[in-house]
Symmetry: C2
Amino acid sequence: MPETSETKIIRDTDMDALNLVAKIIMAAKHGALAAFEKNGRFPHISRIQISTSDDGQLITLVSDLAPHTACMREDPHCALLIGETGKGDPLAHPRMSLDVIAAQVNRDSAEFNAIRASHLARHPKAKLYVDFPDFSFFKLAPQKASLNGGFGKAYNLTEEELIAAITSDQD
Amino acid sequence: MPETSETKIIRDTDMDALNLVAKIIMAAKHGALAAFEKNGRFPHISRIQISTSDDGQLITLVSDLAPHTACMREDPHCALLIGETGKGDPLAHPRMSLDVIAAQVNRDSAEFNAIRASHLARHPKAKLYVDFPDFSFFKLAPQKASLNGGFGKAYNLTEEELIAAITSDQD
């Protein structure tokens, strides 16, 4: 049922909510990234690829030519929407909005190869461009999230709950 | 093929690009809305319903309980991502990022009934909650957009081109 003023807006996080978070993260191949644009009067939004890392962060692969790459370098505070829609009312399908902090993964870092391998496992077609000099991996470290499991099913997730859900995806 | 530094980044807008814009708008039932949150250190992002109006604006139906409604009332400068993904690389599928200005549709205005009717035609299930007192329609007036038709196919769209594409959807 739709929310009404009488509905309790945020529910207590239970196992069902945590399982839904893990399911959304495991299925996420892309998301919408919102970012601040330098001196921009409007927020920036664009579609990005998503995978996960061993240490509970979300990963994206971006080109220097894409405006969101400049945004993330300028101000790492971003927001990410993940969760697919399906048939019927798009608002009846679960989705999650995460506050994330973006940081580029250094090509010489110890973790680079593991991130590259797990990202390509989720995105085999990215093999075509992953090694182009203008492409970089960014970690998107989750700070908190709002899960909307469908009408009237809203939950707030902590950083710890998100990291646990993302690392469970690596098993 | 992926973009490289040698690729011309923004192409000239031609009929194929305009047809793609019209196709994305006609198919859009939902989108990701990026908005500024009052005193927020992160941008806000959430999924919203989308339809179109006779006068070339995008329309959404939102609840007072949703945080994006407060964001749009506080600062109408928002960004909207529309365009579905499908099989394969999510970045190979066309999508469009629009700068929009949000404005609530007054329930007593002459246009309210036409907007309500055309929104329900695209979202029949919204009949369940459209008349709840906490739900409102907002117009999202397009200012400009960036169309990404797949790797290497980027175009900039003007307000006039967007309004023409949206009104063609009404025919």
